[in-house]
Symmetry: C2
Subunit: 244 residues, 2 copies
Amino acid sequence: MNRTAAALVIGNELLSGKVHESNTLTLARALRPLGIELRRVVVIPDEVELIAAEINSLRLTHDFVFTSGGVGPTHDDVTVAGIALGLGRQVVRDSTIEALLREHYGDRITEGHLRMADVVEGTERYPGNSPTWPTMVLGNVFVLPGVPQIFALKLDGLLPRLRGAEAPFVLRSVDCAIDEGPLKPFLDAVVARFGDVSVGSYPHWGDDDHRVRVTFDGRDLARVTEAHASFIQEIPPAWVVRSD
Amino acid sequence: MNRTAAALVIGNELLSGKVHESNTLTLARALRPLGIELRRVVVIPDEVELIAAEINSLRLTHDFVFTSGGVGPTHDDVTVAGIALGLGRQVVRDSTIEALLREHYGDRITEGHLRMADVVEGTERYPGNSPTWPTMVLGNVFVLPGVPQIFALKLDGLLPRLRGAEAPFVLRSVDCAIDEGPLKPFLDAVVARFGDVSVGSYPHWGDDDHRVRVTFDGRDLARVTEAHASFIQEIPPAWVVRSD
């Protein structure tokens, strides 16, 4: 059975165009080799009620939910409060995380820093590989920070936990020198023959390298390889710029 | 009254990590000067039923909905079918768009190309500035292509239509040489005094240029300017790396 994931990305800075969101790309790329399908990404502002509603919707419809952002020490970091509201639980100070924060910041520690020890009641602390403090887990919800470098580090630390028995997704592609119109009958043919392979067609603009990238995705390496080879064999050789 | 917007981004290639989504950044940056608040971004796969459900949810809760992706000629382009299902309408071939496509492609035209003339019944054709064919509009839903260069061109063509009476959002920022812990009391103070200004605090990693960017957003230029100046006046001068 396919395991599915959703990402809940929290941050006014993304919706106002200050920052180009990249954590969902990191997440998608980390999940594919595990055979987990990212099915939905939702980006919302730093608002407690919205976070509460969304977390409840996503956690019931996906095997894993990853939140990104809103877990720092400042007034606009309301993810923990939002998840607590969604689950109908209290926010409590975690003494283990508090001790880690005190050790990390020493004399420089402030009440602001200590807010990062406030967690939803019942939070599991999953040991992250870095930075020092653990990742907050609530059932199938993984609470990750928005800073891309730390998001990636913490996600990497979670991978052993996410690993399952599924075959990883495999990907093959062909870059074509022709546009989608003439390609369409060949695409339709390969789609009809390989129902278990996901075939994508992506126009490429901005330079003359190729016009369309055609991709073949699936869990069955043999079938993906066969679909890819079959497509290349059918189209005129001059249309193939490269094949991966 | 604030006008709001949502983006519905459609494409397996984004959820599988093949492509770094950038159209919502383009959209967010285009809407801010118009005073339109982007409140929600949803990324989903190329699936008709999902598109139908999502378009219905978003169009009833936002003033404007922008879709991105899934409008080309190939089997994985199902946005028009999804919107049609959501609205309970037929897909019909638009003779005006068909004529434009025939003019553009000439002898090279294929049934694949002509699929791009298939629209949801009742679609309004809003004149785009380029490429040749118009943008599909259904009430408050604007149907845009996923290719970033064309998305940007078509969005640009829509701006006169989106322009309203609202004041644009204005933005000021301060880059700080200190982390969020010590900044927190100063942030809390400015947040308390300027309830009508949205104050953001964003840790910066990856180089030593600054530790945190603090931003001040709002529609009232005088209030935003005052909040920004007040914050700079309160924090120790050595903490200020730059102010914009």
